[in-house]
């Protein structure tokens, strides 16, 4: 009888202890999570502040922009957008949008095609002096872009391509973006070759192999390449600045600069309104391709 009672007591006692311990752990975890998310939230807000400020400033009248830090406009107005869209030139901003796509789209397409072909060659074929070529490829990644500006400018001048979009996208047809080629090569190296061998036995020649087997499997990586190239090209300022001289061919990046150049006080609300619009394509494209993009950057391989 007594024995039983003591035993029961011990059981109760341990149960209570366990209960307390569980509670303590849970509380600790909750505090940890709170701290973690607090820090993340704060960092996120700090990082997003300039962007939010830009968008909100676009709705403020010009005089309010530099007088208050607040994100909420005191005097809400669409003037920035309406006037900004008209621009100070004879063209509307739509023109500059179209101009941008006129070279960004061929650039992306050419980059994807040429980089994929070259990466496939490097990863799967025995080429004489392959090591040497590969080193050269890596070297071009390390070479600073600005070193190439003058020789490239002279070259395109000789070819009579100045003030056209050709200098901006034509080089991409020759897999000049070493980084993308390298990225695709690494991705391909991680893939087992069985499927390609099976396809060869099934009757594929090298191009069919590339088209029917390699490209579909490589899709996430290829989409990442396209996305990177798209975002970088839309943001590119130096390239258009050097090669494009007539205003009718200006892309967004130069058009924004154009409005800052005016002598009497720049219309900041217009500039910021157009800048806000200018980032929309990048965001839209990113959202569409998001799933593939993340897969391509992180996974680096596909399960067979």
């Amino acid at each position: 009888m007594t024995d039983q009672a003591t035993q029961n007591q011990t059981v109760n006692y341990t149960a209570m202890q366990i209960n307390q311990e569980v509670k303590r752990t849970l509380r600790k975890e909750r505090i940890n999570a709170a701290i973690r998310y607090g820090v993340l939230l704060l960092t996120g807000l700090i990082m997003l502040y300039p962007l939010a400020w830009m968008v909100s400033a676009a709705f403020k009248p010009n005089y309010e922009i530099f007088t208050s830090m607040s994100l909420i406009p005191k005097e809400f107005s669409w003037d920035g957008f309406i006037n900004g869209w008209k621009t100070g030139t004879e063209y509307t901003f739509a023109r500059f949008f179209l101009n941008t796509f006129a070279y960004v789209i061929p650039k992306v397409i050419l980059t994807v095609i040429s980089s994929t072909i070259v990466a496939f060659g490097f990863a799967r074929f025995d080429i004489p002096f392959k090591k040497f070529w590969f080193t050269t490829l890596i070297a071009t990644i390390l070479l600073p872009q600005s070193v190439l500006l003058i020789p490239q400018y002279l070259m395109f001048r000789e070819m009579g391509m100045l003030d056209s979009y050709m200098p901006l996208y034509l080089p991409m047809a020759f897999a000049t973006q070493g980084f993308f080629v390298f990225m695709l090569i690494q991705f391909l190296r991680g893939l087992p070759t069985d499927m390609e061998e099976a396809a060869m036995i099934d009757g594929c020649n090298s191009f069919q192999l590339l088209w029917y087997i390699v490209v579909p499997i490589l899709k996430p990586a290829i989409i990442s390449v396209a996305l990177f190239q798209f975002m970088w090209s839309v943001n590119d300022f130096l390239g258009p600045l050097i090669y494009i001289s007539s205003v009718e061919k200006y892309p967004i990046a130069l058009a924004l600069k154009l409005s800052i150049d005016v002598t009497e006080g720049a219309q900041w609300n217009e500039i910021l309104a157009m800048a806000s619009i200018a980032i929309v394509p990048s965001i839209v494209v990113f959202l569409i391709a998001q799933n593939y993009f993340i897969e391509g950057v992180t996974a680096g391989g596909v399960k067979g």
Binding site: D194, A198, G203, C204, G304
Partner: protein
């Protein structure tokens, strides 16, 4: 008609490693040839040379009457099944099966017909619209086999197709592939098959003939029964059969009255007369004596006295219907397969004590110590 002939075929890899050393092999039309050997003996290399996935460094390969050394894989009339299936991950099962036919520009109706036929044969019809990642290992394996069949190739190549499956599935796939081969052969379709495996059971049960390889050399090519009964050398004798044949260094003695004896571990036994006549060795020659576990019995009163050996029983392994009985002779451990009833009746108390065993020497093998050739065939 598609026999396959390898003549002095050599493979040297680009790093200078010679993987295959001039092998000759003749695979008859419709034959199921199994290639076995330990890991790294160049089975895959040989198969891949046949498929055209690996260049041929020396020698000639013919498929049918055609020399194929410089033919692309797709022009060799072969189909191959890979170890990890190698299904195209972005195509449905149906597209996987039909891909080769599509490349061959067959019209859609014919492709559908062939694909459906193959799917029915392999019982994968309900899976036709799935993607490979939605299949289990066994199903994926059947799809891989199906992809080979639809093309109606003249030669089938398999590279360890069952090694990723669990034991039970492997057994059923083994039967399925054998049946398939028989069915193709009976319906007069081309069915020549080269099947690479390192699994003895697969080799013994599936092969019309088995080619045993070691380090890029062919050790012996023969039917499963002959390989088991008359291994040409020490390697084949040791490789085929489980548990493995027992070997021991021995001294061969030819007595004045025409008897042939071997002595090892301080004991001498006679070789049975018919076997003795075949042995091609000199008096006092050092040889290797080999005997399979099932030819070691418990000695009875009827056992010929000159074939009885005494050894200490060190371990008993219960296999259900029989026991593996391990006995020590000198410093060598021998394995004997003895029916469970006999063991329970006579050996249950004998652990660590000396017991007499009858070595049935009419089934023994004598190997030359230098060349490791079987000199008792």
């Amino acid at each position: 008609m598609a026999n396959v002939t390898l003549e002095k075929v050599t493979k040297v890899y680009s790093n200078g490693f010679e993987a295959v050393h001039g092998i000759d092999l003749e695979i008859k039309d419709g034959e199921f040839m199994v290639m076995v050997g330990p890991s790294g003996c160049a089975k895959s290399t040989t198969l891949r040379m046949l498929a055209g996935l690996e260049s041929i460094s020396g020698g000639k390969i013919h498929i049918g009457q055609t020399p194929v050394n410089n033919l692309a894989p797709k022009d060799r009339g072969i189909a191959m099944v890979f170890q990890n299936y190698a299904l195209y991950p972005h195509m449905t099962v149906r597209e996987n099966l039909g891909f080769g036919l599509k490349l061959a520009r067959l019209d859609k109706a014919t492709i559908d017909q062939y694909v459906n036929e193959a799917a029915e044969l392999l019982e994968i019809t309900p899976l036709l619209d799935r993607l490979p990642r939605q299949l289990s290992g066994g199903q994926a394996q059947r799809v891989a086999v199906g992809r080979a069949i639809v093309k109606k190739p003249s030669v089938f190549l398999f590279d360890e197709p069952l090694s990723n499956l669990d034991a039970k599935l492997r057994a059923s796939m083994r039967v399925r592939i054998s049946d398939l081969h028989k069915r193709l052969k009976d319906s007069n379709q081309s069915a020549t098959t080269v099947y690479v495996t390192h699994d003895q059971t697969e080799a013994m049960t599936m092969g019309d003939r088995i080619c045993v390889m070691k380090d890029g050399h062919i050790m012996q090519v023969d039917t499963p029964a002959n390989l088991y009964k008359s291994p040409a050398n020490l390697f084949v004798a040791g490789f085929i059969g489980a548990p493995e044949m027992n070997f021991i260094d021995a001294n061969l003695i030819k007595t004045d009255d025409g008897l042939v004896q071997v002595s090892f571990a301080g004991q001498t036994i006679s070789i049975e007369q018919k076997k003795a006549e075949k042995i091609n060795a000199a008096h006092h020659e050092s040889v290797i004596f080999g005997i399979r576990p099932e030819f070691i019995h418990l000695a009875t009163d009827e056992s010929p006295k000159d074939q009885v050996v005494t050894g200490k029983v060190v371990r008993l392994e219960n296999m259900g219907s029989e026991f593996y009985v391990y006995l020590m002779l000198g410093d060598k451990q021998f394995c004997a397969r003895i029916p469970a009833a006999v063991v329970e009746e006579q050996l249950s108390q004998s652990l660590d004590s000396d017991v007499s065993f009858y070595f049935d020497t009419s089934h023994c093998h004598i190997f030359n110590q230098e060349t490791e050739e079987n000199i008792s065939l």
